[in-house]
């Protein structure tokens, strides 16, 4: 199989690189200086693309790779893959569902606690020596707070299960109401935001969900409300979010994703009611290895004409 060309879109995992190199002819796109030339030269041999949350396979790249058969994403989100184009051309697409569900849900709750209980700010307080001069301020209890979840898929459901252990009443917004669901459904995000203390974004990024958190939703969440984003940066109208936080119109935010990663709005750096993470939702040794194994497993299955493990297209 080592004559099969696999193009890796960006650096994502040295373990994955190693494993791909053992099995295929791996091209590292980020090391290529003249991309159009490179594509012309190697388009005959590249039959797979490996992408992630940062870079995948857009229409342009797909058109430049006439031998492309499969896009295997090292992520569950596929917003960086032109799915329509792939369907059109019969290109298979796989992602990494399930293996990362728990880690992302754990982090969502971790962010809720970190924001409400000011865990990061208190840690800074101790490290700076301020505790010697006086006690830290009062924070807000998490147990019992109403939690609203946007998107009740695998991750949303896992978040709800965890929040229930903290006696949080759960409500949600989804494209359609889920039958037999014990949580309260709201038919719009604004209504959900008006009726919860903590709003958690857990849906896929699509054209419809782009900027699903806008000024109206932020206003509905209000000066005591908290936004947790473990989805994608573009789910949130970032400038609106920043001004709401800076002006105190929103109570707080826990953000693992941003519109222009790794750029994070510097106005947020001085705020105590915000926790900022460098896209680590699935970032544990255990899960990243499991994700890499899924990517490899899907590629091997494809090239051996076996059923794909986690196909989306």
């Amino acid at each position: 199989m080592d004559s099969i060309g696999v193009l890796m879109a960006c650096p994502m995992s040295s373990y994955l690189e190693q494993e791909l190199e053992k099995r295929f002819h791996l091209f590292k796109f980020w090391q290529v200086t003249q991309k159009p030339q490179f594509l012309k030269e190697h388009s005959g041999s590249i039959r797979a693309v490996v992408g992630n949350a940062m870079a995948g396979a857009d229409a342009e790249l797909i058109e430049a790779l006439p031998k492309l058969e499969i896009v295997a994403s090292y992520s569950v989100g596929l917003d960086k893959v032109d799915l329509g184009k792939c369907r059109e051309k019969g290109i298979r697409v796989t992602n990494t569902p399930d293996v990362l569900t728990e880690d992302v849900a754990d982090l969502a709750i971790g962010l809720c606690l970190a924001v409400l209980r000011r865990i990061c700010a208190s840690d800074k307080y101790v490290r700076s020596g301020k505790w010697k001069k006086g006690d830290f301020k009062l924070t807000t209890k998490f147990t019992g707070k109403t939690v609203g979840i946007i998107g009740l898929g695998r991750i949303g459901t896992a978040v709800a299960k965890r929040a229930e252990a903290f006696d949080c009443p759960i409500s949600y917004y989804s494209r359609t109401m889920k039958p037999d669901c014990k949580y309260k459904y709201y038919p719009s995000v604004v209504e959900l935001a008006s009726n919860c203390h903590i709003l958690i974004v857990a849906c896929p990024l699509t054209l419809e969900t782009h900027h699903i958190i806008n000024r109206e939703v932020i206003d509905a969440l209000g000066p005591k409300g908290v936004l947790i984003n473990i989805g994608r940066g573009p789910h949130v109208d970032e400038p609106e979010l920043v001004s709401a936080l800076v002006e105190g119109r929103l109570g707080g935010a826990g953000l693992d994703v941003f519109e222009q990663e790794p750029e994070v709005p510097e106005e947020l750096f001085g705020l105590e009611n915000v926790v900022l993470l460098p896209h680590v939702g699935s970032g544990t040794v255990e899960t990243r290895n499991a994700m890499a194994d899924l990517v490899i497993g899907n590629l091997e299955a494809h090239f051996m004409n076996k059923p794909l493990l986690t196909p989306v297209v």
């Binding site: 880690d103 709750i109 971790g110 209980r117 009062l138 299960k161």
Partner: protein
């Protein structure tokens, strides 16, 4: 069930007698933080308003009239103090912990004790879980990384460790320990525990805390501080927890031998720690300030607006109940 002895000469209920005299060892910050006045149907004796040092104040006629003591911030209620205040029949503490009260002396004198009861249990459990997730998933460290601009300049942050599937040892399965266990189960942890006595729960019990540590990836300290638990978590126990092991302490600093723990963390023999309490607050060992795998919290486990409000209600409720001849709301019962 009333927790004070019935005997002849017991004072009339609250509404038919002069305001009960309550000695405040410190002004309870819980009320001040919420801008809440102390109840006006009691007469509060405030030693700090006297020019006398506490020791002398306790011998004054004023102090000797005290029928109850309200202690906060761990201000000790000693045998000596109780001897000098013969009218005291109730001690109310704003804490869940009781290590600052001479319990034996109270029992001897038939003095009832009311604590914070269950008021803080959820809060404290929430913080324990928050600290654990922070250490394993490097939340505070990641937040620092972003704020220092390192995500842009250095690239991806280090990987953390998955919480699900970890074996979590809860030390002390009281009210707080049970709340911690319930939460950790939802994250897919296998809960094990050590306690003075076995409890009617399904979690596997370990009578020896070192054996518990050997069989865990994470230890959460939820027990009270007393003679038996002082420095119970020592070098042996921490080594048993192991290089990847994480310890979270929301009990009292002295349950852990802090010097041992710091040394093991610095040497890399212990994976990480989430600490809300320390042996000599507000002093925190300097060596910890340099470590990225520890999360430090300034004893804030109970300090949320919600729990303070509940606590103030409880303190007032206990005082009113006792002096109206009704059962205490949160009595500390002999075990």
């Amino acid at each position: 069930m009333a927790s004070h002895p019935h005997h002849d000469g017991a004072p009339p209920p609250l509404h038919r007698r002069p305001p009960p005299r309550v000695l405040l060892l410190r002004h309870p910050p819980h009320f001040t933080l919420l801008n809440r006045p102390l109840p006006d149907n009691f007469h509060f004796l405030k030693p700090w308003e006297s020019s006398l040092p506490l020791h002398d104040f306790l011998s004054s006629a004023d102090a000797r009239s005290a029928e109850a003591i309200l202690t906060s911030g761990g201000a000790p209620v000693t045998a000596d103090m109780l001897r000098r205040l013969p009218e005291v029949r109730l001690v109310v503490t704003t804490s869940a912990g009781l290590n600052h009260i001479d319990l034996a002396e109270c029992r001897r004198r038939g003095i009832a004790i009311a604590s914070a009861g269950d008021v803080y249990s959820e809060e404290v459990a929430d913080l324990a879980v928050g600290l654990l997730i922070d250490v394993l998933r490097k939340v505070s460290a990641g937040d620092r990384y972003v704020r220092q601009g390192l995500w842009s300049s250095e690239g991806d942050f280090a990987h953390g460790s998955k919480l699900g599937g970890k074996r979590a040892g809860v030390v002390g399965l009281g009210r707080i320990g049970l709340e911690v266990a319930k939460r950790l189960e939802a994250f897919g942890c296998a809960v094990l525990y050590n306690s003075r006595k076995k409890k009617p729960v399904l979690y596997p019990f370990y009578s020896d805390v070192r054996e518990l540590a050997t069989n865990c990836d994470v230890l959460v300290i939820c027990c009270g501080l007393n003679e038996q638990t002082h420095h119970m978590i020592n070098r042996e126990v921490l080594l048993a927890l192991g290089k990847g092991g994480v310890i979270v302490n929301i009990g009292r600093g002295s349950i852990i031998d802090e010097k041992d723990m710091v040394q093991l963390l610095v040497q890399g023999e212990l994976g990480g720690a989430g600490l809300d309490v320390f042996e000599n607050e507000p002093n925190v060992p300097e060596e910890l300030l340099a470590l990225d795998n520890v999360v430090l919290s300034p004893h804030t486990a109970v300090f949320t607006a919600e729990s303070l409000s509940d606590l103030c209600d409880l303190v007032v409720g206990n005082l009113e109940a006792f002096f109206s001849d009704k059962p205490l709301l949160s009595p500390v019962l002999e075990e």
